[in-house]
Amino acid sequence: MSLNPKPSPAGALRLRRTLAFRLTAAYSLAGLLMVILATASLYLVLRTELDRSTEMFLADKLHVLGSMLRERPDDEDGLREEIELESAARRYQQFYIRLLDEHGVPIMTTPGMAEQLDLAQLASRTRGRSGRSIAMAGRHGQPFRVTSATVAVGTPPTRSDTVQIAIDVAQEEELLARYRLWFWGILLATSVLFPVVGHRIARHGIRPVEEIAATARRITSTNLRERIAPEGYPSELALLAGTFNEMLERLEESFERISRFTADIAHDLRTPVNNIRGEAEVALARARTGDEYRDVLESSLEEAVRLSELIGDLLFLARAESPLTEWHREKVNIGELLITVRDYYEASAADAGISLVVNDGAEPLSAELDRSLMLRAVSNLVSNAIVHTPPGGTVTLGASNEDAAIQIEVSDTGDGIPTEALPRVFDRFFRVDPSRSQTSGGTGLGLAIVQSILTLHGGSAEIASQLGRGTCVTLRMPAVATR
């Protein structure tokens, strides 16, 4: 974000990419454009006005001479006054008039006209033209505007004369030249001033961005506590800073979750490994009977199976989170799916003295989903429900639809979950009662797996529970695959 000039081409390129540079360039270009527009339009107006006043002067003169010749053709003094004296009295905007008869012979001429102008050229250039004047250079290079007109003499007209008028417009040209000089001067000054001012404005505007960047640079995985203080920022950047802080919040939470998760994995791996190791060490410490060895081996096998299951569940979760995971969608009858789960758990439920009921509504429901994944999700829920429901209780599997969404509900009349634990039950390795981890079996990943299966289906899992009254988990998913 530095605007320090760097000599290398790479530096120049980097400079061109900075926001400050772009803002400055945009401000400067816009400012210059406006200055050019304003001065250029003023210049044009001025030039037009000057032209118009010259034209009016010439038209006025022609009109006066015309009416004099028409009405008082014999008033030679009056004509002389108009043609010879009046012009001589002027210092600026001197004008010259020549009156010619029908044959082109001069009748009267303003003194000094021949010195100023090439009269032959004047005659040839204005012949046959009337109305607007034309520009012509004098003998000494001064600018003139010249025009001519044919005037009827006497009433009724006896002949027609030609009037040629030339006016020195050096004053106007000088004014315009001075104006142009100013124009370039202003342009030069603003083209220096605008980038400087623009750059200051841009730098001031993006300073908070630089501060945010600096904060971001300081943040590492071990230093996620850093936040941006958005006081005094303009509202847009305060919003950015707020968003950034929220992102940091989420990152920090995720990191904490991951490190807790890693610690949990380590713990859950340690227990079975410790059992295998300890039992083997003790068994080998002295000679044993065949049965004793068999017992140790069998126990090791059980622990190994536990480890395999844990690894399988972890792999499942990791795969479910990968965006590349492919899975198989098919039309599945929800009622049949629930009955499959019930058939599987029927014996266990009966053993535990629990009735397992499927309540799948009047009409058959179906949805596009991965049958084996959904089977797994519902199984996990039923398995949990059976473990946590005392004898005499009921576990109910239900399905319903609401618009384009399908809901599967697994509810029990069991122990329930304390309210403060509810938000965490879908976390990996979270157990409501940590001391039960060994006795209740399972890897502590069951509900996490349920949730990731529902996420894969574009749905969600929700849990509601009342201590001592029971728990109800609702799986919600679109009936038609959206992916």
Binding site: S300, D313, T325, T340, D343, A347, S348, S372, R376, S383
Partner: protein, 224 residues
């Protein structure tokens, strides 16, 4: 039946060799891909058990070269990575089956048996073991001439066990075959169901047929 095991992990190769030899197969082992490939090209094996991660030549390369040489041996791949991509790659290259580590030895044995049996399917109408008789067509089972009152799932479970006598069937395999639960589900459920089946099939009779193999699963045989 000759089986070649190409596996660089010494312990794995050792227990595979031991287990499969004891199951009645003739075993050769190779500890890297190239050695395994040479062996497989020299000798006609019925089955090659091939690890994916191998030194010199990896499992994919071995498989590809075997298929190039148009060796008709069956191939069972072992891998530590279970991704759809790997599966698809394996089947494209012509593997016959696929097993993810860690696996249960009983599962491997079951796969090996079913692969080697594939060529010679034998239709069965009745299964007999000791005084148990299962009539598959009429869906009934009798023991010592006495009809057993089984639910349909119990009948399926009994049939599954009885058709593969002497073979240890894992809980996962049982859950998958009988209840269509093709994932590592809550396997205690299988125990409960086996216990219920036993109460009907074994408890009233002196000779027990269904045996628990601790940590591994269940086996169906007439001697203890």
């Amino acid at each position: 039946m000759k089986i070649l095991i190409i596996e660089d992990e010494v312990k794995t190769a050792k227990f595979l060799k031991k287990g499969l030899s004891e199951a009645g197969y003739v075993i050769d082992t190779a500890s890297d891909g190239l050695e395994g490939l040479h062996l497989a090209q020299e000798i006609d094996f019925d089955l090659v058990i091939l690890d994916v991660m191998l030194p010199v030549l990896d499992g994919w390369q071995v498989l590809a070269r075997l298929r190039e040489a148009s060796r008709q041996s069956l191939v069972l791949m072992l891998t530590a990575r279970d991704t759809v991509h790997e599966r698809v790659r394996g089947f494209e290259l012509g593997t016959d089956d696929y097993l993810v580590k860690p696996f249960a030895f009983s599962e491997l044995l079951a796969r090996v048996r079913s692969l080697l049996r594939r060529s010679t399917p034998r239709p069965q109408e009745t299964v007999r073991m000791a005084d148990l008789e299962i009539d598959l067509l009429r869906q009934r089972a009798t023991r010592a001439g006495q009809k057993l009152e089984l639910t349909s799932k119990e009948f399926l479970l009994l049939t599954l066990l009885a058709r593969r006598p002497g073979e240890v069937l894992s809980r996962t395999l049982i859950a998958e075959s009988v209840w269509d639960m093709n994932f590592d589900s809550d396997t205690n459920v299988v125990d409960v169901n086996v216990r219920r089946l036993r109460s009907k099939v074994d408890d009233p009779f002196p000779v027990k047929l269904i045996h628990t193999v601790r940590g591994a699963g269940y086996v169906f045989e007439s001697e203890t």
